[in-house]
Symmetry: C2
């Protein structure tokens, strides 16, 4: 085999690691792939760790012990996160996206790959320490962002449905109070969740918190623990939600009688300076 140079090894390693966030790759894996000695690979990884940090591309973490190796973690700095969300708020504020009934149109944002990747990376950074086993969302609009968060965390996504489906097998159904105040049903296949697992709830929109509360109740039925709740957008009103401790990316308020105007601002926790 032709000798592979450091710049070649490092570029390939960057792509392989970043494609599988949170997955631990052993040193031997890369030694075999590149035909290089362990000491050489260790040096490569040390340099790569600095590159990733210097250019704000995430984090490389060395894991010691028998199952040790190196893994890539998605990590967005607080200034980068704030800049990204502020740009989004600018795009969403104003009158052109306000629909009759004081609804905000932002479905395009919720399924735009760059937007969804950015939001998912910010949420994954915020909840990585909670070590969720999976991300849970309720169909439909939140699925892309929830998927992107799950990808960045390297965990599966689980999707609750409005009704049991024949192709999902035995399911647990619960009732919850939806945004419009009606009693609705939420359903999740029994195969999806094991007792004792840790759930991160991700959804697109939080108004009163009925659906979010429903998802938390659903996890309770499965014996799973909710380790966090995250939303793309939360409304300013009502201030008191049915859930607590949630993190949203943006706060929405719509005001005006004649021509209604949306004001979208970054959520307070994003404004906090990190230590």
């Amino acid at each position: 085999m032709e000798k592979i140079r450091r710049n070649e090894r490092m570029s390939a390693m960057m792509k392989i690691l970043a494609d599988s966030p949170n997955r631990i790759f052993t040193l031997s894996y890369f030694c075999d792939l590149f035909g290089a000695a362990k000491s050489t690979m260790s040096e490569d990884i040390d340099i790569l760790r600095d590159v990733v940090r210097q250019f704000n591309l995430g984090e490389l973490e060395t894991v010691t012990g028998a199952a040790g190796g190196v893994r890539y973690r998605c990590s967005v700095s607080q200034p980068d996160a704030l800049r990204f969300i502020q740009a989004l708020c600018g795009e969403l504020s104003g009158t052109s996206r306000v629909l009759p009934g004081r609804f905000l149109y932002y479905s395009d944002i919720l399924s735009n790959p760059k937007m969804v990747q950015g939001m998912g990376a910010i949420l994954a950074t915020a909840f990585a320490d909670q070590a969720p086993d999976f991300v849970l969302t309720m169909e439909t609009k939140g699925i892309p962002v929830a998927m992107s968060t799950a990808t960045a965390l390297g965990v599966p996504l689980i999707i609750a449905r409005h009704a049991s489906k024949v192709y999902e097998g035995p399911a647990v159904n619960i009732n919850y109070v939806s945004g419009s105040g009606r009693i609705e049903t939420m359903s999740l296949t029994r195969r999806a969740v094991q007792e004792g697992q840790r759930a991160l709830i991700v959804d697109d929109f939080l108004r009163a918190g009925g659906t979010a509360k429903g998802m938390a109740d659903l996890m309770h039925e499965f014996g799973a623990t909710v380790v966090g709740m995250a939303f793309v957008m939360a409304t300013r009103e009502p201030e008191k939600k049915r859930v607590t401790g949630e993190k949203s990316l943006m706060i929405l308020s719509i005001s005006g009688d004649d021509e209604e105007t949306a004001t979208v601002t970054p959520a307070p926790w994003l404004l906090e300076r990190q230590p």
Copy 2:
């Protein structure tokens, strides 16, 4: 600024390019980022192109002209695609995933990040030459794979719904014949699609093709062209579908009276040797 070495530049460039498939980055962009001369960056890109090819990580393409630069394209080789799908078929075949009514449980696959990334990359490779402007799917189960395909192509995802939603604004509704033979409604906000755009339809499941036909009809209403149709799974029966020219990743047949067994095989086009 401290001088940035080639291995550092190349690793960072790899991550930046791969994070935005199909986006053209100018040489100047990287010159500014790394404080390097154009000739140096050209050399970096030449080496990186070979690395990406050697390790089957996709493709780097140099685009000439005024808006020229370099872009990353997702590209899965035919043997890699086949290997990936064969492993998936092994996982899905057998008796344990067959549900009453001859349904196959595979929702877990459809929202597993690694699976979804793999399937999206294969579909993006297959349809990149059709240059779609967006990916269209019908809620719910196909959304993650459709999102992943859109991400790999660097285009937006558009999600058709079962009914018009207040938060999506004016919508076009059409009726279609669903898998169960009933007449159902499909709805898409007017803002989503412009006349003359090119649509790639991606969904999880194809039986008779009623929903797929509905999506094609919907695109017709918008004056958009359908440049391709892709499905994760197609049933062997009925052989004649309501749509033609579709590409699926896997073919499903369920047989047996007492204990039903699923046989899942790679779709024929994946078996073809590429030139």
